[in-house]
Symmetry: C2
Subunit: 319 residues, 2 copies
């Protein structure tokens, strides 16, 4: 019997950020062979964009501490993608406070298409300045304001006003804490989309899976008409992980595209599970339910995990 | 900052089936201490119903092969619940084809409140007969037609007509294969609810987590106004597992009720993970995407899992 997913009537583009978001888990160390295999699978699966890492400065973060995909020098990207075809757009993420704009080549010297600026609410001014500079260099740019579940409605309204006046092409709703319920997600997304529609900008979403809602929230966002959706192969990512790219491809593109991704997941991600842990856990559920930074989960590993966490929450000891 | 889940405006009752559904994993073997601790946690969390096991016949299934919660003799229930208070309704599940109605005491001799009949589409006649007999014994009764994602719309319409004429109080939408997307789930649930509203019956839902959608589907069903929702502690259950009771309680009842459940999950379910495996996996994702019985996942464990599965699916070797 044929599967009853809805017909493909959604325009959302998929951005796979396995290397970038998963790089938080692996300190941005990945074999070039894996990156090439991922690129090839994504390409065969009809994924629109691959995010190949961070464009952080090796003069701010230590190259001894992080692998090459934290810095993504142009030669690395070109060497890796040689003979890989040309089907997918390339994006990088720029961490506000950890990048140096003078180290970034202009678009016409780069294989990169999209630069995404990640920042917290209090870094808006720097983010807008950096996005402006990246636009001038010729890149498509995106603004990714993290931890949206912790920002008041008034602050979000003010931020969206500033985004409207910026040079950025895309504005992302980022659920960094994995704490957005479907209804709260939709409420925020509608706010973002209304503000961006009025100035001709696109909107994207990035979810985490602490509440087991990453895929469900992606589906809702797609149905709402969002332009870009983030995902990672096998949900690879920090803590509870992300929406799995293979699920999103199935939903948005159809079964005929999903096989290369499942094979890549089998070949590369299953062995990765022996080295790294990701996915749901009780501590990561607790942090999302409390709407606090998932890093709090690391303080929550004992035998009395749940009780301790609630005690700390009640006594204000959790941020 | 306070969490932004929607206010409690949903009437859905929660039925925790950890012992019953998890019994498929543990061959219905659980320590009475665990069952009592679960009962107590559910009671403190405001859960409405606990399903304590199957009411199958020891003359049909072997008591050597299954633990006591597969048969739930009345003395076991009474002994276990002694001094446990009286806050929660008790349900049992009757497997059509594995029960003997003459072995079931009348309601006034039993602590059980609700009897739920589980059956496949082709067993409807037997299910209606059994439900009728259970109603005559004085129980609230429910009809749980399994594997709804594989039943054609015409068959579902015919089944709902028969359910309308039956003695049952509640009719469940069962997603046994974990294969229902949110939109398909809502389409079916509306069909079920429309048919049942016209004859004054209640509706319930039971989801599995193969597509990481169990909780999301529960939220949608609650918002749609469903009367009963199934869940299990820590999502314990066969294969990909169920919607976690603690998530549902948070969503439907609020944070102040969830702590006893998280403590019970910490104390009892975390150790259980050393003995049993449950939760998402690539093979269980494959079966749901293909809308086939999750038991097919057991044929899918090799290094070429995904490729093999697609080959078998394409060649018709998967049922």
């Amino acid at each position: 019997m044929e599967h009853k997913f809805p017909p493909r009537k959604f325009s959302a583009k998929i951005l796979d950020c396995t290397i970038r978001d998963g790089g938080i888990v692996s300190a941005s160390r990945f074999e070039p062979e894996f990156v090439r295999a991922l690129y090839s699978a994504l390409s065969n699966a009809g994924v629109d964009i691959i995010e190949m890492g961070y464009k952080n400065s090796p003069n701010i973060l230590s190259p001894a501490q992080y692998g090459p995909w934290r810095f993504c020098p142009e030669e690395l990207l070109k060497d890796t993608l040689r003979d890989c075809g040309n089907g997918i757009k390339i994006s990088l993420m720029v961490d506000i406070g950890k990048c140096n704009i003078s180290e970034i080549p202009p678009k016409d010297k780069s294989v990169v298409d999209i630069m995404r600026c990640a920042f917290y609410c209090w870094q808006i001014r720097d983010a807008l300045e950096t996005a402006g500079a990246l636009s001038e260099l010729g890149y498509e740019t995106a603004l990714c304001m993290m931890a949206s579940s912790t920002i008041s409605d008034e602050e979000i309204t003010r931020a969206l006003d500033k985004f409207s006046d910026s040079s950025a092409d895309i504005v992302y709703l980022m659920d960094s804490y994995g704490a957005l319920s479907p209804s709260e997600m939709l409420r925020l997304l509608r706010k973002y989309r209304k503000a961006m529609a009025s100035c001709g900008k696109k909107t994207g979403v990035h979810f985490h899976n602490n509440l087991q809602l990453a895929f469900a929230n992606c589906i809702s966002a797609a149905m709402e008409g969002v332009d870009y959706i983030d995902s990672t192969l096998d949900g690879f990512g920090k803590g509870a992980g992300n929406c799995p790219t293979e699920m999103l491809v199935w939903f948005l593109r159809g079964r005929e595209y999903v096989r290369p991704l499942l094979e890549a997941a089998q070949n590369y991600m299953e062995p990765m599970r022996a080295r790294f842990k990701w996915g749901n856990s009780l501590p990561l559920l607790l942090t999302a339910l409390a709407n606090v930074n998932p890093r709090e989960a690391s303080n929550c590993n004992g035998n009395n995990c749940a009780a301790d966490f609630f005690d700390r929450l009640d006594s204000g000891k959790v941020l």
